[in-house]
């Protein structure tokens, strides 16, 4: 019985072949110094990229034939793209917010959006929990460990108000 071709793995293998080929060319583009034709800094990159191209081709071949040699059960099908998207958005949101609204707000947003991706419906409670966790982490890191985290305009304003009040 001919097994069905495994297209996701075929694509993954193809991406590895192409990426490794490109990176191999990058390594070749650096002209070697005379003393290190054999041994220089390009030897290992070329070996690794060559190896990756072979492995990628092997994956493509195995996927084409449908011989995946999986011993474990395949993971259950993806049925929650909304969740995947939200987890990705959570990280993006952190990157956008951290240098504008500051570390605490960005971390709280990351927490709340991740929680909602995993099915939480209680937005307000999540935001509160996120703020509390992020605030604690901020205090511990900034004052306990001396790591410099961006306070951010809004948070700095609130802290200043609290300090003044």
């Amino acid at each position: 019985v001919r097994a069905r071709a495994d297209w996701p793995q075929f694509a993954f293998g193809a991406a590895i072949v192409l990426g490794a080929a490109a990176m191999g060319l990058v390594a070749l583009a650096v002209p070697p110094r005379a003393q290190d034709i054999l041994l220089g800094p390009r030897l290992f990159p070329l070996l690794v990229m060559g190896g990756l191209m072979l492995l990628g081709a092997g994956l493509m071949l195995a996927a084409w034939r449908g011989t995946k040699a999986r011993s474990t059960a395949p993971p259950p099908p993806i049925d929650d793209w909304r969740g995947v998207g939200l987890v990705a958005v959570a990280l993006l949101l952190f990157a956008v917010l951290v240098e504008t609204l500051g570390f605490i707000v960005a971390e709280a947003a990351l927490f709340a959006v991740t929680a909602s991706a995993f099915g939480s419906r209680r937005r307000l409670r999540d935001a509160g929990t996120g703020l509390a966790l992020a605030g604690t982490a901020y205090v511990v890191f900034k004052f306990g460990l001396g790591l410099n985290l961006p306070t951010g305009g809004v948070t700095a304003y609130v802290l200043a108000k609290m300090g003044a009040g």
């Binding site: 993971p75 990280l91 929680a115």
Partner: protein, 497 residues
Amino acid sequence: MEAIEFLLQGFTVALQPMNLFWAFVGVTLGTLVGILPGIGPALTIALLLPVTYKLDAVGAFVIFGGIYYGAMYGSSTTAILIKTPGETGSIVTTLDGPAMAARGRASAALATAAIGSFVAGMIGTALLVLLAPEVVKLALMFGAADYFALMCVAFVAVSSLLGSSLLRGLTSLFLGLAAGLVGIDQLSGSARYSFGTLELLDGFGLIVVVVGLFAFGEALYLVASKELRREEVMALAGPARMTREEFSRSWRPWLRGSFIGFPLGALPAGGTELPTFISYQVERRLSANPAEFGHGAIEGVAGPEAANNSAVAGVMVPLLTLGLPTSATAAIMLAAFQQYGIQPGPLLFSSNPELVWGVIASLFVGNAMLLVLNLPLAGLWAKLLHIPRPMLYGGIMLFAVLGVYGVNRSLFDVAVLGAFGVLGFLMRRLDFPVAPVIVGMILGPLAEVQFRRAIQISQGDLSVFYTRPIAVTLFIVALAALIGPTLLRRRSQKRGG
């Protein structure tokens, strides 16, 4: 015996109040992350690196050792009560542990796992004490070519034994090797794959990659299928304990598991997963009632849970004596040593005995603490499983991103974290093992240095790799590990079909 003498000196370090405290911190944290699904010892130690940097090296490694041991204890609780392995070393426990819990014997399953872990941890650490000085003597004879050959053995073992096929394991390993190439080449000083950016000159940050693969990638993987997020916590009341009959069925599997786990962990055989599978098979074969396996046989919990703990002790042998990591967690511990400017290896035993033996002694101490933490308090720890998943994964992401961004305040790092997260997600979906990526990334640059140093010493003569007896032996071992499993698989397939 000189090993015993060194160990006694180690205890004078391990029993100092501060180090006792750090051991307690480590084992508590280890049990915690072992129980919590989605966060394991590798990720935890990586996240702690910037924090522990403030400690002395002994304190830091006492914590790390405690985390590694503790995670093996904690993961059994998750495997038994929610049928999800807390760590890969407890996958096998999900076969019989939950079945015991369904029969109302959850506390017995937890007890046999905890006591088995204790017995195995003690035996494994004792074997570590006896074996390490011998390996050190051997390792002192190693030249650069031999080290390179040894690393090849580790590469092959990690990729052929973890994961479902050699092709997948090797692909993971090579992706890690490729990631390890980025940055300044140690020997020539030339920049590789930095594309003119300052950020890439130092290479990918280890914490960034680990968090990407193990926290973000894992979150993406788990959120994708509703089936992976089911949560059904089985009932457990009070402490873990078992009947006399259950005890008498357990003690032999504990001992067998201990002696299966240690050598497989000590050989560069890729950590804790494989020994648990072997232990399970052995117990089933030896059982008078093999049909019970899969339906709540206590031997199926006792053996593997012992095996994974003694495997952890075994993993410490190549890590401490050769500087050779054979699991993702060990690879991160190696990076931690480098952070302190310490190179683990045979010389470490003579240059810094109080560190090596202090850490080894504290593994005994931590193991004793873990028994106390996990037997009477099993019910308390089990409550952690009731943390709602949205809160748990929100919290993991919060701390993971804190660990990445807090160190360098670099949005570039966050982008790299995202990229490795997507890679981790794809790899998990397509059934590639993730641990070889970490081992390849850490060990790759070291292997390259040894390779080029060997050729420099021999002045360009490649014969160093096939004339030195140690190197040749190791290459043969690597070759055997490369093709052996494939041949065996073929043979068993032929016989089966």
